[in-house]
């Protein structure tokens, strides 16, 4: 995908997708002049096939599908180094959030399912318990990702240190959380929110 010839025309450039990213992130991709400062400071650059500046470049060319097909967006650590240092105030961290959301909504063809899975479980935890329940998060993650032995030695140690709780109590006002989730879903269904 990365090296495929790129045909540019009004039809092949998905401007609608880019506009969505800009609306979600509140940041213009056109402002970027490709200085590369974001990629220079990104702690995760070496793990990505498209470094941050190239993500923006692909968006400038309306190539959202190329971005989502890669795993780069899932390797962003949200450290905001890029946003902080950008000379053009391109909020790349927010653009990454927007891209992840669009990929998430589309259940997109990402190669990087582990991070997606972890995020999904994290949010499920919130919906179910109101707060994080780290033991459950870790256990279910390992189960679902098929890495049964991952951090095998770490778990019991943390439990003994009191860092992982075996049991978890729900918030008394847990109903309100469900309400938030439902109303957000409702707004999206009605097209009132992105």
């Amino acid at each position: 995908m990365k090296n495929k010839l790129m045909h540019l025309s009004n039809e092949t450039m998905n401007v609608g997708f880019v506009k969505k990213v800009e609306a979600l992130s509140g940041s213009s991709v056109r402002r970027c002049f490709q200085c590369g400062k974001c990629s220079a400071g990104c702690p995760m650059s070496t793990f990505m096939e498209h470094p941050p500046n190239r993500i923006v470049r692909l968006l400038q060319l309306g190539q959202g599908q190329r971005v989502l097909a890669g795993r780069s967006i899932w390797y962003c650590a949200s450290c905001e180094t890029c946003t902080t240092r950008c000379p053009n105030k391109v909020d790349l961290a927010a653009i990454m959030d927007a891209l992840r959301k669009l990929s998430w909504d589309a259940d997109g063809p990402s190669k990087e399912s582990y991070v997606q899975l972890a995020n999904r479980l994290f949010i499920e935890n919130i919906r179910t318990y109101g707060r994080q329940y780290e033991l459950r998060l870790g256990a279910i993650f390992n189960m679902k990702s098929g890495q049964f032995l991952k951090d095998l030695m770490l778990g019991p140690k943390l439990i003994s240190k009191g860092k992982l709780k075996m049991f978890h109590s729900k918030n008394r006002n847990i109903g309100e959380i469900e309400g938030i989730f439902k109303r957000i879903e409702e707004m999206r269904k009605k097209g009132e929110a992105l």
Partner: protein
């Protein structure tokens, strides 16, 4: 509020980590505030702030969760004190975004079924210690100065970024942690990696990333001659403390492990320090409370992986 005239008092949002993997941060925060005679009242029935995963894939959810928490906090008097850097960043970001974006604010208010509370000041405990309680008074209150303790103050990503949101300190060259350390009598070291990312929440999904990034941080602190690292974020603490032994195995000696040769060899890593000594990781509140004379037994030292007691004993701080 003028310190000394009226008792300082805060509402308190601990966040999920401080009730679990970062419990010693919570314990020591409460102990420190008690020692300084500053009030701290936990917000009842708070929810998870959504942390990084929520805004990563669903900004509206993230904003709504934080707005909900802010309105819960409104029920408790006093500015909102936050210890966790991630929670702090999310709560501040939410206030900032909702103030600027009327559409998002409307959506969020619909989602939480109530008005978004944007005016409650959200304060990180570093701010409270250095500015509201005040460095001078902090220095006066010290009972057991942390003499001879060389500390690498680690800010991580979220305390100061993005610059327009947290307003805590200069986003590229902060000094608030070092200022506090000096007030406590400790010696902050100059080092290179105090604002580099530790790998954050990849600890669950991609631990390899964490090992690489955190290793660079630990190595930088060792090379600068630090005895220990001070943090203000439970996630940073988790990565640097819980995974420190793993990191040592992975990067201990050049090419000594499969991981090191596969993962480490092509990546730039700081010069390897000679001893690769263990570096205890302290929360800011643990060190501050220790200096205030709080008994070490009530600071949660038993919960951490890298035992800090030998170091503290060595420096005659126990």
């Amino acid at each position: 509020m003028t310190p000394g005239k009226k008792k300082l008092s805060y509402s308190y949002y601990p966040g999920c980590s401080l009730h679990a993997s970062g419990r010693e941060y919570d314990i020591s925060t409460r102990a420190l505030f008690k020692a300084l005679n500053v009030g701290l009242k936990e917000v009842p029935d708070w929810f998870c702030c959504g942390a990084t995963p929520a805004h990563n894939v669903d900004e509206l959810l993230s904003l709504s969760l934080c707005a909900k928490n802010l309105s819960l906090a409104d029920q408790v008097e006093g500015d909102l004190a936050v210890a966790c850097a991630a929670c702090f960043s999310r709560l501040k970001t939410t206030q900032h975004h909702l103030k600027e974006d009327a559409t998002k604010r409307k959506q969020v208010e619909y989602a939480i079924d109530g008005p978004a509370s944007l005016n409650k000041p959200v304060k990180h405990i570093l701010e409270i210690l250095a500015r509201e309680y005040g460095l001078a008074k902090l220095e006066e209150s010290v009972k057991k100065p942390l003499m001879g303790l060389k500390v690498a103050a680690y800010y991580g990503c979220l305390l100061t970024r993005p610059p327009e949101v947290p307003e805590l300190d200069d986003c590229e060259d902060p000094s608030i942690m070092e200022d506090i350390l000096r007030a406590l009598g400790a010696e902050p070291v100059k080092w290179s990696h105090r604002m580099e990312c530790c790998g954050a929440n990849f600890t669950l999904s991609r631990p390899g990333v964490v090992l690489k990034l955190s290793n660079a941080i630990l190595e930088s602190a060792r090379l600068a001659g630090a005895d220990c690292i001070m943090v203000a974020c439970p996630l940073c603490h988790g990565n640097l403390d819980i995974r420190q032994k793993e990191i040592k195995e992975a990067f201990g000696a050049p090419d000594s492990t499969l991981f090191g040769s596969i993962f480490g060899s092509d990546l730039p890593i700081a010069n390897t320090s000679e001893d690769r000594r263990d570096l205890p990781i302290f929360y800011i509140t643990q060190l501050a409370a220790l200096a205030m004379g709080v008994a070490s037994q009530s600071l949660g030292f038993e919960s951490v992986i890298i035992d800090p007691k030998p170091l503290l004993r060595d420096k005659q701080l126990l």
